[in-house]
Amino acid sequence: MANTNNDQKKGAVLVVGAGVAGMQASLDLASSGYLVHLLDKSPTIGGIMSQLDKTFPTNDCAMCIISPKLVEVGRHLNIDIHPNTEVASIEGEAGNFAVTVQTQPRYIDLAACTACGQCRQVCPATAVNEFNQALDLREATYMRYPQAIPRGFTIDREVCIGCGLCEKVCLAEAIHYDDQARQKVLEVGSVILAPGNEVFDPSRFDTYNYLNFPNVVTSLEFERILSASGPYRGHLMRPYDREEPHKIAWLQCVGSRNINACDNSYCSAVCCMYAIKEAVIAKEHAHADLDTAIFYMDMRTYGKEFEQYYNRAKEHGVRFIRSRVHSIEPAGECDLRLSYTNEKGEQKEEVFDMVVLSVGFEVGQGTIELAERLGVELNEHHFAVTDGFMPVATSRPGIYVCGTLQAPKDIPQSVMEASGAAAGTSAMLSEMRWTETRTRELPPERDVSEEPPRIGVFVCNCGINIGGIVDVPAVREYARTLPNVVHVEDNLFTCSQDTQVRMAEVIKEKGINRMVVAACTPLTHEALFRETLLEAGINKYLFDMANIRNQDSWVHMNDKQKATDKAKDLVRMSVARAGLLKELHEKKVEIKQSGLVIGGGVAGMNAALNLARQGFQAVLVEKDKELGGLARRVSHTIENLDVQTYLDRLITQVKSDDNVTVLTEAEVVGFKGYKGNFTTTVQHGPDKTEQTVEHGVAIVATGAHEYQPKEFMYGESDRVMTQLELDKLLHERTNGSDPATWSNVVMIQCVGSRNEENPNCSRICCQSAVKHALQLKELNPEMNIYILYRDMRMYGLLEDYYTEARKKGIIFSRFELDNPPVVNRNGEGVEVTFHDHVLQRPVKVPVDAVVLSAATLANETDRLATHLKVPRNAYGFFIEAHAKLRPVDFSSEGIYLCGTAHSPKLISESITQALAAASRAGTFLAGKTLSVGGAVAHVDKTHCAACLVCVMSCPYGVPRINEENVSEINEALCQGCGVCVSECPAKTIQLSHYEDDQVLENVHALLEGVM
């Protein structure tokens, strides 16, 4: 932890970069009691993820999953978004920085802009659309993408001709041509750097002819081509002639793993997976058969369940060709000829319609300069220098890093690191929680339950978005005729600040107790209007929204009369439903300010320690006598950091922290309660003493173990060992078994991984082999070391060690799953026979040691998983709530996971994930109370027959038959889907806010007059 002066500490944090990492860090911090300044140099937040079509390995639509996060960030009371802004300079130290930031002019006042889009409609000037990777054009007045936050336009003055048309049509008077750059100073306790990377520009390679051939595109351009919101509306077309391609090639490692042309020797860590994804999705988009071929060196599908994704792609018919293509030549008018050497050493040529360059990551020049201004050290590849045991801290105390500036990585790793960086910050500033945050003061709610409905209807013109198509005054007058309506009005922009203030006044003045707004979508605006109701002292559930824009004026613009008729129908439906809406009161439940951490390895200890440093109590439960877990068997990391010294220090810190209680030889034997209020029974110590722990959150860190091989003569000869057993020999160096005396060593990869029994890649074994091979070479440079592998998965910056190993003469020889090496006894010793892929013939080597890179398997957690009711996959690894955006949360709130219990990972990655879990847990605990109830299911016990249909149909296992022999639904656990309600044969469960009579009244109003 950084040395800081408490007196001057600040409760605010600066996050630089608003991609998915920056957003996650901001959300964690803002929800746990810090005021966050979120900076981005672009006019919107969202980063590179907003440009992706789908995301691997779930094939979720990227925009669908990121846009709720965008909205959450945009709405958060304690996140100030500073778009178009960069850091100019920094002064001070950890705990108390003064950061000068510079905001470029936007020429549109965000406070006034309602994002109605009129300015863009009239803008005559065009520019290259960088969001679509220059595949199409945009106006000079633009929004980067339709879901952009902040919701407001920008004028690109580089191309603006200053015609003044937008200024004339802007009814909100938001356009200011004279806008100027501004500077201000932000006082913050900590800085989190998440500026992201750029993608490699392939025009530097003349052999790929990227600039000359339009049908050679980058992978990011291809994402936009596939995207439904992209330049071709999701139709698979190639740029040259807008024809659908029938044959596409992907070339891997463009701008990565290359020291000749681009100097980026590292692996970009994500391209193998995105290429597979793009090939599979392209096949789905194609109308005819699409031939897809991926040209690669090693297929690096090392993440959780990535290998299965790769296997499925092969089944889908994606071709994988192990070769580095050296040139792209023209063929015919616009096709492309690839020349390459196949694995047998034969020269091949193939013609494709389109070529996708799988471009890697690169730290941008702007970021390099930013790091310099901040005094943050970068490594030779320009990634931030971090400590392997504190992977989110930069070289400057108080400045943390996450995302691709730390090293190339995918979205889940970035999200974990973001939460990890937030945890670092939170531990440092914990006593300053809630000192600079804002709270909203609301008037007391008026009880309207006994009043007859008095409905106010507010119809929005949305500039001319609605008013230009729908006859708004007619709709307004129609609303006046509907039952229970006591007030109607229409507004130019119902969402504008001044209208909101006035609406609250009108509600109070006219005694309105239900509100209907006929405007845009509840997705973006419901929360805002509900706040207006709260300001007027009315329960926020007494509100309904008629979407007469997205579901009407925007989609029926060619028939104004019918659009107006439909608007009336939609308003009538909303008014009918509103009349039946009930006040719902969310209850506040205290959250126990403590966490239970299960598993005392590196992950569990870091999680417990960070929770403690954040000011919470932590109980750490370890099944063994000693803390330390699997890391006790690892002497050094590949970076040559001393793991045992670190572990000793960590154990001491954990044991000496007043906020941490350690229970060893311990097992969870009972678990009940709900988020914020769990009660766990633990048996611990030699006598299995039973202890009850009450806690608000739980973190699962049960770890993994090394597979005990059944193959390759393991157990039959003491010369055959696993990597962890070799680690022990290397560490102890005892006479008789000193590895320094060996002359020939063979290491075999993927033992127990990537096979039928266990299709997962174990992620860490390639680096274990290279690490130990380098250590052996250090002991005896003359030693012959062979690493027999299937793909060397030295992802990210690990690639450097792979390069070093080859330079030092370590021999890498590849084998296929169906033709593995053979280990035989040879007199006293053993010999290994393998097929060499370069020599194309079998090679026999007598060896001193055979080292098996055995799989990493999940620890046995059957009983624990049953107690906690959290899911595991077929291989015993716990399943997170969402593979991409919630990598450390379980879907049941209040329970988190980290370390190898999630999937195999390096020590540094386990630490990051542990910090992330602690951040997520801390974010939950810091709220102190929890709102439960609202739109959830409730049982009318008078008709309950205890038939168990609700118990069996609930996807979350919430209903239970209680002591009175009737179904009971805990409102703190209910997710509000309504499945049980519709299944209940006695109709004795209702979903508040979507009760049967409310839904049916909606339907009834819809169909009024048809008979």
């Binding site: 008729d565 889907c977 309504g978 499945v979 519709s982 839904v999 049916l1000 009834h1004 819809l1006 169909l1007």
Partner: protein
Amino acid sequence: MRLNYPTNIKIVKLPCSGRVDILHLMKAMEEGADGVFVAGCLEGDCHYQAGNLRAKKRVAYVKEILDKIGVGGERVAMYNLSAGQGPRFAEIAREMTEKIKALGPSPIRIAKRKAAGRPTTEEAA
């Protein structure tokens, strides 16, 4: 995307297609709808885990009843699509409208209009 589709599609919002009750579908038909479709998440992608599969079963059940009583099960349908598939929504809306137009007004509606002494030939709502 502002993709055009017929105005006679009106949406009843529910938290999850798993909340769609057989009762809701039957009531809609009884009150004169010519067709109803349920739009749920893609299978395997339900926001609430498996509500869309429940909805699918209920829609199938309602189809069966409508077939039995002579109204025609093809008037109700289940569609699966994600929030990112705007064009697909517009396509479904058009497809469903075309299908219902070809089928003509629902026999329930015709019967009720007749009983009320109203003309039965106006355009399908």
